[in-house]
Every structure is written in C-alpha cells, then in structure tokens.
Symmetry: C3
Subunit: 207 residues, 3 copies
C-alpha cells in the first residue's frame, strides 16, 4: 500500500523527527534532575529542541493541508503531530517552572518520574518508527502496550510523590511548587499514552 | 432506521453500561462523603468500577474501528464513549486525592457538589438509554436540559465552596487540598454536560 | 465561491458577533484591573456578555447541524465557534475568581497580561472579519501572525509574573490566588492563538 505513495513517506519522516526530539528533551531533563546539573546552557538547549519541534509540527500541518492523499486519516495525522509536539512543550515548560520556582534540590520522586517519562518517549519513538512498515504492526502494538504500562507506572509514582509531599505538616509553598512539577511530568507521560492510542487506532483501521 | 441495523444495537448497550457505571461510581462517592465512611473497601470498589469502564470504553473503540456502518457519526460515537469514561475516571481520581491528602472530615459543600454530580450521572443514564429509541427524542432532549441545569447549579456550588474556602485567613495547605477536590467534582459535572452536548448534536443531525 | 452561497453568510455574521463579544469582555476586564474599578455592575456586565456569547455559540451549532452546505469544513466551523466562546468564558471566570479571592489591589503584571489579552482579541476580531472576503487572505494571515506574536509575549509576561510571585519568601495563600489569575489570562491568550491556528488551516485548505 505504502509502496504506491512514495511521496507520503515524508509524513513518517516528520513524525520520527518529532519523536526523536521528544527523546532528546526527556533524556536531557532526566540527566539534569538526576545529576542536578542546572547550567543555563541546558535550559537553553531544551528551548531550542522545543522550537525545532514546533517547526517540524507546522511542517506536518502544512503538508497535510496541501496533500490530497495521505497515508492514513487526516485527523489522525493532525492529532499524532499535535500530541507528539505536546510532549516536548510540557518538558520545556516544567524545566522553566523549576527555574522560576528556585527549586534547590532534586528528589527521588522527581528522578523516578523523569526516568519513566524518558522511557515512554523511547517507546513512542520505536512505535512511530515502526508505523511506516506494514510488516511491523505486531511489534508496534507491543510498544503501545509498553507505553500503557509506563503510564500506569507513572500514575503510581505520582500518587507516591503526592502522598509523600502531603505527609506530616509540609510547607505550603513547597507543596505548590512540587505538586506542579510532579503533575507536569505525569501529564507529559499521559501525552505519550495519547500518542500510543492514536497509533493503535490507525493500525486497527488498516487491518 | 435502527430496525435495519440490529447489530449496531451493541453500541447502545455499551453506552448504557458506561453510563450505569458512572451512576454507580457517583452514588458510591456521594455515600462515602455524606456518611464519611472511608473504608479502604470502598476505594477499592471505585477502582474496580473505573477499570470496568475502561474495558467497556475500549470495546466501543474496537467495535468502531471494525464497523463499516454505525448508528451515527463515527466521531460522535468516539467522543461519547470517551467522555462517558472521563466521568468515572475523575470520580476515582478525586477519591484517591482525598486519601493522599489525608482529608479528615467532610464539608456541606463537598456533600452538595457530590449530590449534584450523582444527579447529573442519573440524568445522563436516562438520556443515553433513550438514545436508541427514535420515539423518545423529545424526552432525551429534556434530560439534556436537566443536565445543563445541574451543571449551572454545580458552578454556583463551586463558587460558594471557593468563596467559603478563601474566607478570612485560611490555612494555605487546607486551601490547596480542598480547592483541588471541589474543582475536581465540578470538572466531572462539566463532563456530564459535554455528554449532553454530544447527544443533542446527534439528535439534531437525525432530525 | 461565497457569492453562490449567500445564506452561508450567516456563519460569518455569528463568528463576528462572538469575536466582538470577546473584545468587549477583554477591554472591560483590562479597564477594571488597570483603574482597579471593581463595581459589582462591571462583574454583572461581564456575566451578561458571557451569556450572550453562549447564545451565539449555540446558534452556530444549531445552524451547523441543520446546514447541508457550509462555507468551510464542518469541524473547523465547530472548533472556531467553540474556541471563540472559550475566550469570553475564561475572562468571566477569572473575574469571578478575583471576587472570590478578595483580591485587594492590582499588579503591573496583571495589567500587562490583561492588555495583551485585549490586543489579542482585537487581532482575532480583525482576522475573523476578514475571513469572509477571499481577497483579504494575505491580510488575515498577517493578523494570525500578530496573534502568535502576542501569545509569545503573553508567555514571557506570565514567566515574569510567576518569577516575581515566587521571589523571596512569599505568602502561600497569595501565591495560590495570583498564580491562578495570571495563568487564567495566559490560557485565554492561548485560546486566541488556537483561533488563529484554525483560521490559518481554513485558509490553507481554500488556497
């Protein structure tokens, strides 16, 4: 089927660029919080990645609006591009909040959530890369299951983090800051699951 | 019209299961906060209901992706299933937060908001049940109006709850906890209105 | 093209009413926070505008459900109407929160954010007004670029406002209140950008 539409390959190229950008951003964020290395250079790099992803996303929209034939449903293409872009937006925005909140140290909960997000972006990249090859449907669905598993793990990690945050008589200001950061990462992991859901739906329709 | 597509009845069966699950969850939550009976067994039951609803929702998606003929627009079916599922997700997530926040007593505002949510889920169940019967269009639209009325009532209850919460010099930590719980219930009521909006739109298109 | 469908002009009339309502609401809100004139009459006026916008939005939905021919994609019409309505909803809801929170003074950050929102609603009105005239495509796209610029400016203003809010050892209760107000305005500006994105997509498809 795809052999007949070689020019539509471009969509898959762009999705892969987006998904790879998400891995780069999530990996960088994980490194920052794990080693607590918050050099301004790293925040700037995150902003660059976010900006590059923006440009790629608009390339998808543009190509979509100008194409008569698309490899799958127009809405699915739009939603896939939009949600892939949301992941890096969220990572960058959490990092900015960490700066604005003057967060002074990392926590095991932050490291665990960030690692799960990074793992989820890796699984999304594998799923997106497999999407162009009809022979890999089974494997792509397995990556989607893995993303669902990571999202569930993220939910448990968030509950644990919130539970610890509210334990005893915490400082309200610290609660405001950390709640937003923890929840932000969980929302980014949720977005990875949204991507997996669209991919599953695309594959079922092609079956 | 529906007589010609007997197999499509399955969609209506699944929507009714989802809507009934929402009533069960909202009723259980109302009972919990009214009598302040927070046995772990009840939280577990809420999680079970949420999990059952997940499975039903995915059954709708699956059936949708595999059906050539559907009783109404594919997108409307997807959105209806997705928003019915959101209601129980929200109820379960508010309950979990109540546990994590170590909430120690109920408030009249919490009871009033929970009762309105329960009433809204009841009206949604009636509207969804009437949807399969073309002769009940007028009655279904009346349930939708009732849901809109309950959503407006919920808005007023939330304003009242927030007003009381910020009255005087409250403890910031209590404000953080209760604000999230009150707003969570109002979002769940909003979701019931989203369901009513889709149902209205489906009925108008069929007219 | 539009000359052949004179009755579809009604959609453009309704969009313009919605966009003009947003300007009125945003301008009123800006005046309120700039001169810190919070007479109850002004809050009532905002509620009226929000209510009028609701009615117009439902007129669009109704007309959409009853029309066989539409000036552009049905979904784009629905989304455009829905997001135009979101702007005034958000403005009204931020004003209500200001009352409930007993906010006692304005801040330069609040004035700057509100002015940017007002400017964004003005640019949206110009873009929406130009949409009915195929000869103004280039100008409409320029307004969309202007809205994007204002959204970026809003992001920077919000970061500055949050940074100031968390500077030193602020009172947690004040942080809760102001964070919600600042972020609410930024979300309303974001909605203006969502409107610009739909308009751009409509124009590209017509090209």
């Amino acid at each position: 089927m795809f052999g007949l539409m070689p020019r539509e390959d471009k969509f898959f190229d762009l999705f892969e660029v987006q998904a790879a950008n998400n891995v780069t951003a999530a990996k960088l964020f994980f490194d920052m919080v794990q080693s607590w290395s918050l050099e301004p250079e790293r925040f700037r790099r995150l902003q660059e990645i976010e900006h590059e992803s923006d440009i790629t996303t608009h390339e998808v929209y543009d190509k979509l609006n100008r194409s008569f034939i698309t490899p799958f449903d127009r809405e699915d293409i739009h939603e896939l591009a939009s949600e892939l872009d949301d992941v890096v937006d969220l990572v960058q925005s959490i990092a900015t909040r960490m700066q604005l909140f003057h967060i002074e140290k990392t926590t095991p909960e932050l490291v665990a959530l960030s690692e799960t997000l990074w793992n989820a972006t890796e699984a999304v990249l594998k799923a997106v890369t497999g999407l162009r090859d009809p022979g890999k449907t089974r494997r792509v669905l397995d990556y989607c299951i893995e993303i669902n598993r990571l999202e569930n793990a993220g939910d448990r990690l968030l509950e644990n983090a919130i539970g610890k945050l509210f334990h005893g008589t915490p400082d309200a200001l610290q609660v405001i800051k950390w709640k937003e950061i923890y929840e932000g990462i969980e929302i980014a992991i949720d977005k990875c699951e949204d991507v997996a859901n669209i991919i599953e739906s695309i594959l079922v329709k092609q079956a």
